[in-house]
């Protein structure tokens, strides 16, 4: 069940400032469901891969210590308006999702 990903890119020269918000519960396995009283199983993103025109620019690995609905900000050099930036994640249950966005013209 894929939740949405939001992305915002700002271009300054050849530097793309990227902010990503990934919808994901990032369950620690230590939390109880308030309705049923049952423990909610561990469920977290393990890898996030970012590419610029299919070229890898950032590879993140993590565990349940990243906060719910993971937020990431990073800066990619060598970007131009119209380039395609893609963010893809995969989690501990084998689920995955991604987003593609065009780099906007610089301000």
């Amino acid at each position: 069940m894929a939740e949405p990903i939001r992305i915002r890119i700002k271009l300054d020269g050849d530097l793309a400032d990227v902010r990503v918000l990934i919808g994901h519960p990032m369950e620690t396995g230590l939390r109880k469901d308030s309705k049923t009283g049952e423990m909610i199983p561990l469920h977290f993103i393990q890898t996030v891969t970012v590419t610029l025109n299919d070229r890898p620019v950032l590879e993140m690995q993590c565990n349940q210590a990243v906060a719910r609905n993971p937020y990431l900000q990073f800066r990619v050099r060598g970007a131009s308006a119209g380039d395609e930036l893609a963010v893809n994640w995969a989690d501990s249950r084998g689920e995955s999702n991604g987003i593609k966005a065009k780099v906007p013209a610089g301000s």
Partner: protein
Amino acid sequence: MRKARRILLQALLLPALALVPLRLLAAVWNRAAFEARDLATALREAGVGEPARSEDIVIRAPEIAENGAQVPVEIQSRLVGTELIQLFVERNPQPLAASFRFLGGTEAFISTRIKMGETSELRVVVTAAGRTWFNSREVKVTIGGCGV
């Protein structure tokens, strides 16, 4: 003739083969490091030896985090040739929280939010030009964020 062709094939294949394991390693989640329950094991499994402290690793995080479930952390490395940044929360149940590999000229900078179970040192290990360095910073946590 055949020998020459074989040598030519080998010459073409060798660089390709050398590249494959690196790409695969980068993509596979480092289970042993991320599941390690003590700092020494996490550091060892993450391939960290005994790095020296470097003030060129800048850690921006609140001195006091009221909510351990959402602690903003920003890391910047001014070390030339920074390839990898690894973030350890020393007193979390699993100390290694995240790693970031920078490729193709991406700035050695990351901003994210993490969970902290209690007051702890944040230890950041940077691999730059084949050497490792670290810096650390304490964040005091008012309400822990592991059971949320």
